[in-house]
Amino acid sequence: MARLRGTGIAAVNYPTGMNLGGDPSQALIHATTSGSFNVVLAAADLGQGLRTVMAQIAAETLGVPYGQIVIQTADTDTGPHDMGTFASRATHRVGNAVKAAAIEAREAVLQLASEELEVSIADLVLDGRGGIQVAGSPQKRRDIADLASRAQFQYGRTIAGRGVYMKPKSDVDPETGAMDPDSTQAYACTVAEVEVDTETGAVAVLSIRSAYEVGQQVNPALVQGQITGGAWMGMSHALYETTEPCYPSRDHSPKDFAGYLMPGMAELPIIEAVVLEVPSSNGPYGVKGVGEMTANSPIPAIVNAIYHACGVRVDSLPVTPEAILRGLDALAQGKGAA
């Protein structure tokens, strides 16, 4: 028996959003009497932390603390239109809509402040902590919360904003394939190390180390969450998952988590990532997107590592222990792997 180690790499780009029939999302924002802001959306949080990220973008733009933001989403009686949470589009599309709505609401606050302080809006700055002050004269200031209260009870005005972001429809030229299919691109490069047991064909993934460039991160911990979960899913896709384990026979298609194979905690490799931030030209604060791409580069990196470990090229997924063993048998017989 031998345990053979190998390293493989893979590099990928990933498109943010799609063009669909036009790809819009909207956001509405309004201030409450206490100066917190309700952000009303129709986007779903799949667990990636959409509510959190939208609250951060709204807080940043409005210049108020994160805790002042309430995200209310996905009730079609109140939430403005949204295409949906897919295509790595939410942080970019919904984020842009939230930012636009927040800017409009901020303008209303600044207008009030400028009237009360008797200066032009251009002379006002936000302190990021819920305050507005006159540039160069920090003692001349107003709290956004107070302005919001007076807007309602004293001035009878709204502090609200509407935002939309739309990627226009781009038809595909059926002859040449010319199209504009995305808004921006994020990148990843993964290096995987594996160990192959030549008796069983079993692959242990030792490490998945990646560099990502995803534009500005809104919440780095949540970005790491996507990268780590995606690395595991990529490993799972590469080595385990199929709904047709006996294909072309469709017998034994899994019905439960025992039969649908995925790695567990004991199979975890070291998962490590560095993240570069190069702001995109069109995402809110320069974001790109990271939701989907994280399962992609680990798959070929692992498959390439297997080849470098044991000389077996498997071009079909999942790379089962049986496929590796048959490949090793073929190598031993001098025929080369299929």
Binding site: T200, G201, C246, H252, G259, L261, T320, E322
Partner: protein, 282 residues
């Protein structure tokens, strides 16, 4: 079907009486880890169900040089069984913590392939099944208990009451290959129990799980090692014989081809483990 009655007999005689009264209409469940999923998803639609958690068969007691394990003893209870370390090891490699807290040793005899790691260990231990029916109790060697794919020698009016396991000095080895390290269906499970006579192996029993319609012993592998020292050549010969004896099948975790190959590899690893095992009770 909407279940009309769930019987919870308080004693074995009461359970047997219910079984006699309702016959094959009565679905008997032990830990529920196999039957309940089928009921929950509407695949099994029983009208009458009998649960055995209250019949008082959860205990483990010494009977001379044997251990009588109540059929309703949980797999968790086996994991700390010092008298029979092979059984404890097999139990530790079965399913997950919560399932082990629910699943029973009796139920493990009926687990559909590729299950039954504990059953495989019991086969290597030459355990007997105590079946109790209207005519009383009878002891059946486990090797004669299974009669085919999901069929056993238990009569329709009988229940498995206990599993009787010899406690004898010797060596053991347990190897389970799954696609994962923990909570995994078996590609192949190998349980070996032997006495040692100097370097030579005596009274060896090599049981294979997930290598046939039920746990089975490899006569070829046993013959290859019986009375011999566990040299690499002897181990290789036994591994080859086991691969030939296996009656593997394809499922989600492995194909027939791969299982047969792994029977050989895992029997080899188990015997290598046996050769290096420190002397301890098995």
């Amino acid at each position: 079907m909407t279940v009309s009655t769930y019987f919870q007999p308080d004693s074995l005689p009461e359970a047997l009486a219910l079984l006699g009264e309702h016959g094959p209409d009565l679905l008997v469940i032990a830990g529920g880890t196999v039957a309940m999923p089928l009921i929950n998803e509407g695949i099994s639609l029983p009208a009458k169900v009998m649960g055995l958690r209250r019949v008082g068969l959860g205990g483990i007691e010494q009977r001379g040089d044997r251990l009588a394990i109540g059929a309703m003893a949980t797999l968790t209870a086996l994991t700390t069984l010092q008298e029979v370390p092979l059984l404890a090891e097999a139990a530790r490699h079965t399913a997950s913590w919560a399932v082990r807290n629910m699943g029973t040793v009796g139920g493990n005899l009926f687990t559909p392939p590729p299950g039954g790691d504990v059953a495989t260990a019991l086969l290597a231990l030459d355990a007997q099944v105590e079946l109790v029916g209207p005519a009383g109790a009878r002891l059946l060697p486990l090797s004669g208990f299974w009669t085919g794919f999901m069929t056993t020698a238990a009569g329709p009016d009988e229940l498995v009451a206990r599993i009787v396991v010899p406690v004898a000095p010797g060596r053991h080895a347990f190897v389970k290959l799954g696609r994962k390290a923990a909570n995994t269906p078996a590609v192949v499970t190998v349980a070996v129990r032997a006495a040692m006579d100097g370097e030579a192996v005596r009274d060896v029993r090599i049981a294979l799980g997930a290598a046939g319609p039920h746990p089975l012993r490899s006569a070829g592998a046993e013959a290859a090692v019986e009375g011999r020292a566990l040299t690499p050549e002897v181990i290789a010969s036994a591994a080859g014989a086991a691969a030939e004896d296996a009656q593997p099948f394809s499922d989600q975790v492995a194909s027939t081809w791969y299982r047969r190959r792994m029977v050989g590899v895992m029997v080899g690893r188990a015997l290598a483990q046996l050769a290096s095992a420190e002397q301890r009770g098995a």
